[in-house]
């Protein structure tokens, strides 16, 4: 039997390891240099030389921090190559795989990973793009939660509160609606494809267009109020039209509770916010409906036949066969839905700009406002800190959802 190791492989293995280390470390450092936290502006960006001079002047701590990470990654990569190098087949596979991946890895490293590193560093700084970042430690993170002690700085807490309600209400409803639509469209009805197309239309339409249409629907003299008034008129009910997107009254206030505006957090989601929730359910449910439809088609019809023979009603078939078998997709939809709702931005940007009284402010909209400096100076550091807090929240929620929902999920 021929040995898999090559006779003179030993030196090659070391060279390969060293080269890998050099290449990986260099790549990370290049990414870091191109994403170094320096001040911007025409004087710095005039040429590569002025930029590099600025990097040298201000970004050395950042480069050192990344450098330590780069060396660690380099060593890990080098050890991997060193281990595999003498096995001809594994080596071939590895080289082919990384050659094919190289373009993607380089672009992602430069434009995504690099930017994330930059943002992470900047989140510990006071930074307005045009002046040098100033290290302020955890102040940005503290400031995010200052609302607990200082009512005038409640923006981020209110944004989290709003988006919490948004997720709590939108995710279950849109998932349930998506399942219902999918089951309907999976049954043998006439013009099934027609309905599938119609129901899916809101998802392919631009969210900007849909938001604008809803803005008009929601006007005080708009269609929605007119419709409700028409429906209620024969019943003899006097209906006072509601300014849907401009009404900050909270859900719990509608039940007649007197809640002071200092206790805004007891008011629940505002009318304006719920109006946006409804619109979002309308637009996203069809996207998830498609996923459920695909899932439904994977379910073996034999199971339903067997159940029918055993005398199961169609409701029992739905709850005992369909739902359990859809569980992996429900997990996916719930996770995607949660991430999507926590990051809601465009409806807010177009319809309410965070108003009325901050009841539709969301973390991403707040991040945008701070980063762009549309209210006061540009506050990139604070915006980055908020982004990382939000990312952490999403990460934790996703982990919890996986733990809870993945239990008993098996593929048949």
């Amino acid at each position: 039997m021929r040995s898999k190791t090559e006779p003179h492989g030993k030196s090659g293995r070391i060279i390969a390891g060293v080269l890998t280390f050099a290449a990986v470390t260099a790549l990370v450092m290049i990414v870091a240099i191109f994403n170094a936290p320096t001040k911007g502006g025409p004087k710095v960006m005039a040429s590569m030389a002025t930029y590099l001079a600025e990097v040298k002047r201000t970004a050395v701590p950042f480069l050192v921090a990344v450098g330590i990470g780069a060396v660690a990654i380099g060593i890990m990569a080098a050890l991997n190559v060193y281990r595999v190098w003498l096995n001809r087949r594994k080596r071939k596979t590895m080289l082919a795989a990384y050659s094919f991946l190289a373009p993607y890895i380089i672009v992602t490293a430069l434009f995504t990973v690099g930017v994330i590193l930059f943002a992470l560093y900047i989140s510990f700084n006071k930074y307005d793009i045009f002046t040098e970042p100033v290290w302020i430690g955890l102040d940005n993170y503290k400031k995010a939660f200052m609302g607990f002690v200082d009512a005038t700085q409640k923006d981020f807490l209110q944004a989290l509160y709003n988006v919490g309600w948004y997720t709590l209400i939108v995710v279950p409803l849109q998932t349930a609606l998506a399942i219902a639509l999918a089951v309907l469209l999976n049954s043998r009805i006439r013009m099934r494809n027609f309905f599938r197309t119609i129901f899916y239309a809101p998802s392919v339409t631009s969210s900007v267009v849909i938001t604008l249409i809803f803005v008009w629907l929601y006007l005080k003299g708009g269609f929605l109020n007119g419709f409700i008034a028409r429906v209620l008129a024969p019943l003899g009910v006097e209906y006072a039209p509601i300014n849907w997107l401009g009404d900050p009254r909270g859900l719990f206030q509608l039940f007649g509770f007197e809640i002071k505006s200092a206790q805004w957090y007891l008011r629940g989601p505002s009318i304006a916010w719920m109006a946006i929730m409804f619109q979002n359910i309308f637009t996203t449910a069809p996207t998830f409906m498609i996923m459920f439809l695909a899932g439904l088609q994977d379910i073996n019809p034999v199971l339903y036949e067997a159940a029918a023979i055993d005398g199961a009603s169609s409701w029992q078939q739905f709850t005992k066969i369909t739902l359990p078998l859809l569980k992996p997709i429900i997990l996916l939809v719930v996770v995607l839905g949660t991430i999507g709702t926590l990051q809601v931005f465009d409806q807010v940007y177009l319809a309410t700009q965070g108003g009325p009284l901050g009841t539709s402010l969301t973390p991403v909209y707040l991040i945008f406002r701070e980063a762009m400096g549309s209210q006061g100076p540009i506050n990139m550091g604070y915006a980055s800190a908020l982004a990382f807090i939000l990312a952490l929240i999403i990460f934790i929620l996703t982990l919890i959802q996986r733990r809870v929902l993945e239990k008993g999920t098996e593929q048949y």
């Binding site: 960006m45 590569m48 080596r91 080289l95 307005d128 793009i129 005038t152 005080k220 505006s261 209210q375």
Partner: protein, 441 residues
Amino acid sequence: MKSKMLVILSCLVVSAMFLTACGAGAASTETGNESTAETVMEADTGTVEDTCPLPVEEGATIVFSGWGDDSEQQIYKDSIERFKEVCPSVTVDYQPIPDNFQDKLKAQMAGGTAPDVFYVDDQLMTAFASSGQLMALDDVMAEAGVSRDDFIPSLLTIFTLDGKTYALPKDWSTLGLVYIPEAFADAGIAEPTSDWTWDDMREAANIIAEKGNYAGYCMGSDWARFAPFAFSNGGRYASDDYTTATLDTTAIKEMAIFVTEMFNEGSLVRPADISASWCGEAIGKELVAMTLEGGWMVNSMNLDYPDVVWKTALVPSGPVTRADVIFTNGIGVNAATQYPMAAAAFAIYVTGSENQGEIVKTGFAYSTHPEQIDLIGNVNDKAIAEGGLLPDTLVAYWGPYTSKVNDAVSKALERIWLGDQTVDEAFAQAQAEAVTALSGQ
């Protein structure tokens, strides 16, 4: 063995190419710039310029950006034509950015690709001036024989930082009492005059609202529409040095009580209450008799409601004085421009009295030079503009955190009108919010 080394080498080559591509890209843009500069120099006929306000660089090409719809863009295309006549050796490349101008400009400035001359508003002033991205214009103004006193004084408030001028006001507007004469005839009362007080306005609004064919007075919970009320009672939103807010003062609260009483008695309606997106639309749809609106009303009414008869009177006076709020935008010069003289010459010319006089004639905007107020042709425009020259008229500018302070006022009014808070509670909260904002937290 060899082939493996080849693979590694090719990987390295790929990454090297990737890097050189970046470098090459930058280099080629630079040469591109040079070549345009060269062609322009060739095109320059070398005419002697004594008309140009400043000794401009030979063969300068400057990029100019601003927001604005087609009509505004046409105004500036014409201005550029006129500039070409006085400074023939300068080429102006007009690159309008109609949407998200401020966001785009900040990104361009950060990346070093911002235009040489561009519109400046309070937001860009905050982002650019203190960090040295805008050129201080005082020296070139002196050289060109232009003085700060040439402009309507309050307009320069926004563009001044530490005693230096960073932009010159290009146009402005203020608020006038816009009304529908038919509503007054219908109620059988006299139309507003230039010696009206807020009490006269309230009385008329009550009579008209009672008659029921029109709502009385339209006003959203908006800091800008509340400003003439507050200013006319001697109120300010913040101290003169922008260090603290002055929102829980009697001057402010008296006027807040005044508008709240109007709201409660039904003589004041919010635009949303009458299904309009703003009060100007409510006037256009003849839903309301009176509101405070600015110079933009003239174009918008001509465009959307050409058949509606409407008039304007001077803003009513308050307990202390008669004062209006003024809005303005300026033109500033990129500190890093390659052609500072040409860029400054353009900014100075466009905002100068010659060009401003031409712009006024189009009815598009008011001249920033006080002596040209008589050039305003439209009678409504004239009535609106008059408020800008009142001695106590102010720009609602309170330093870098202006929009947060103003936002606190809008929200306070919103809470009061919702019945959420009393005037005292709402403005105490607004004061606290504005103080926090002004402290930079």
